[in-house]
């Protein structure tokens, strides 16, 4: 991209595409700003409008929300909706559950997928190919196809193995997702791009495989690990169908499920619902805005691996 001279930045000349537009545009069409703003501003307003309206409703009085035609700006700012929503449903508990589930799932995935991905990338062991094929086959099958047996297995695990991972406990949201075929595949692909010389040098120095993985491979893999962490976190945080199936008590609900329950119980109290909604999406929104670059890069990476 060539840096456009300051005088040509306006008008029809748009830097990014680098289209060398001949000067024929002429002074007649020159605006003090790029015409793309005229496209982008309305688009952004449309994209942001649901968020804006959500926040406005959440600080209105119930009477004001139920007025037609609606007032675009509230006359009274009523922050009381937030404590009210908080009192109606334990959003703090939902938040805590979501956080525990998401963070534990991320850690489990990083550890288990890194170990398995490393073995598939670097070690030769009996049955490697067969095991890898079976794992990759699960990638093709949508969750809904397997959710009934998954439910039955989770029930069995809860009764016979580990009560905390059974139906009704947040462990049931962690254990089935503690390792994913996607994570194993993703890290294996990444590990294979690393130069093997470092690992060989460490082996010569007497390091065992675990030490090689921990001290040599993982430090070189920070971008891949961050990507997997971000994607796993988003998936876990926003998951709804699986918690809907396995969680049956308010105390074990995650934010999406808690919010859906809240909606069922207060379906016409819009100010309350929107206050609850703001509270449930705010934490993720804040994390997202802070780590936006990471999330965006991670999502873009799924596109690159997919093509």
């Amino acid at each position: 991209m060539t840096a456009a001279p300051a005088t040509a930045v306006g008008g029809a000349r748009a830097g990014g595409t680098g289209l060398a537009r001949p000067t024929m545009a002429g002074p007649r069409r020159r605006l003090p700003f790029s015409p793309w703003h005229l496209v982008l501003i309305p688009a952004t307003v449309v994209l942001l409008f649901p968020f804006i309206w959500l926040i406005i409703t959440s600080i209105e009085t119930p009477a004001e929300a139920l007025r037609f035609p609606p007032d675009l700006t509230p006359h009274v700012i009523r922050l009381q909706n937030y404590p009210d929503a908080f009192a109606a449903e334990p959003f703090g508990r939902f938040f805590l559950n979501s956080t525990i589930v998401a963070i534990t799932t991320v850690i489990c995935n990083l550890v288990l997928c890194a170990a398995a991905g490393y073995a598939f990338a670097r070690l030769r062991f009996l049955g490697r190919t067969a095991l890898f094929v079976v794992m990759m086959a699960t990638l093709m099958v949508p969750f809904q196809v397997t959710m009934i047996p998954q439910f039955l297995i989770t029930k069995w695990v809860g009764v016979h193995l580990l009560a905390g991972a059974g139906i009704g406990h947040i462990g049931a949201l962690i254990v089935p997702n503690a390792a994913t075929a996607f994570g194993v595949f993703f890290l294996r692909q990444f590990f294979r791009t690393l130069p093997i010389e470092y690992e060989e040098a460490a082996r010569v120095d007497g390091a065992n495989r675990l030490a090689v993985l921990w001290r040599v491979v993982l430090p070189l893999s920070a971008p891949a690990l961050a990507t997997l962490a971000a994607l796993t976190f988003l998936d876990s945080w926003n998951n709804f169908l699986w918690p809907l199936i396995v969680i049956n008590s308010t105390s074990a609900m995650t934010l999406p499920l808690g919010l859906a329950t809240f909606q069922g119980a207060h379906s016409t109290e819009w100010t309350l619902l929107m206050a609850g909604n703001v509270m449930s999406l705010a934490p993720m929104m804040i994390v997202f805005l802070i780590a936006q670059r990471y999330f965006v890069r991670s999502v873009a990476a799924t596109g690159l691996t997919g093509t």
């Binding site: 952004t44 309206w53 073995a119 079976v134 993720m284 999330f295």
Partner: protein, 313 residues
């Protein structure tokens, strides 16, 4: 990734041990590394694939007192004659046919508009990306309010341009389209990210060469940019389709499949049969049909995609 690139690239892994039989010590280590992940993926990923196929040939039912037995193809036969299954397939396909091109067009348009250096660009991009951070449930809850028939702001905007009050999610003929709208909004950020990444991978000299050859802006876009974006388009088409065929959350929250089954999509019906009526056998048959639908649609897309997808490398 940059770290790897900086260190230079080799194709390792194979070079180390090609053609050798696995050594025993290495086998033990390998299995030790793989087993934890393999147990989880095996128990919750692989085994259920077979198990749900088996269940689909039985009358397994959580509530019934009779013991489970094999009933052959009875569930599949019942499914073919179930009018709601037919409707659910129809709704799922209509939804997919609107949602996938919708997201792709919105995403492409926004990404092209955002692929340039402008002041405040970070604001525009952040606004688009923010839709990725919102959960399906939060998204649905906001849109139910926006599209509320009595007090919703959308009806107010409609009244400004002379459109009479609509019933939206309460109307059998409109509900599905409201769900299409909310999910297009929810996925637009994802499409923008994918298309922006692809756009930024297009070498500028190609675009400039076209301009020097006298190609107009639109021609350059159609003849150069779009073909170079085709791998991203194919990925998006496949990815969005798979997700569209699995639509559930928004339907659950906004309409519960109603009104009059107008938004009953396959996964919703499957969930209802499995976890409201506990007909595991019948629900598993529906699940397998869904699986086959997804496989067939994806295969068609890849085949069609090969025709017009242009890979540079």
């Amino acid at each position: 990734m940059t770290a790897a690139a900086a260190l230079g690239r080799r194709t390792p892994g194979r070079a180390e041990s090609a053609g050798r039989r696995p050594r025993r010590a290495e086998s033990v280590t390998g299995w030790a590394f793989v087993t934890p992940a393999a147990v989880i993926i095996g128990a919750f990923g692989a085994a259920p694939i077979v198990w749900s196929l088996v269940i689909s040939f039985t009358n397994e039912n959580e509530l019934s007192s009779t013991s489970t037995r094999f009933t052959g193809l009875r569930n599949y036969r019942a499914m073919i004659h179930d009018p709601i299954v037919t409707q659910a397939i129809e709704h799922t396909l209509v939804y997919t046919a609107l949602f996938v091109p919708g997201v792709m067009l919105v995403g492409l348009f926004l990404a092209v508009a955002m692929n340039r250096k402008l002041r405040f660009m970070w604001v525009y991009r952040t606004a688009a990306y923010a839709t990725m951070a919102i959960s399906t449930i939060s998204e649905a809850l906001v849109f139910i309010w926006l599209f509320d028939p009595s007090y919703g702001i959308v009806n107010y905007f409609f009244s400004l341009i002379g459109i009479p009050q609509q019933q939206f999610l309460n109307s059998p003929s409109e509900a599905l389209y409201v769900i299409v709208t909310m999910t297009i909004w929810g996925w637009s950020g994802f499409a923008v990210v994918i298309y922006l990444a692809a756009l930024q991978g297009i070498p500028q000299d190609l675009i400039e060469a076209a301009a020097i050859d006298g190609a107009g802006r639109w021609t350059t876009f159609r003849r150069i940019t779009l073909p170079l974006l085709s791998p991203a388009s194919l990925f998006l088409a496949v990815w969005l389709t798979i997700n569209a065929l699995q639509l559930f959350d928004e339907v659950y929250l906004s309409t519960m499949g109603g009104p009059l089954n107008a938004t009953t999509v396959l996964v919703y019906y499957l969930w209802e049969q499995a976890f409201q009526f506990f007909k595991y056998g019948y629900a598993s048959a529906i699940a397998y049909m869904l699986f086959i639908v997804i496989l067939v649609v994806t295969a068609i897309q890849f085949r069609a995609g090969r025709r017009f997808t242009y890979y540079r490398s």
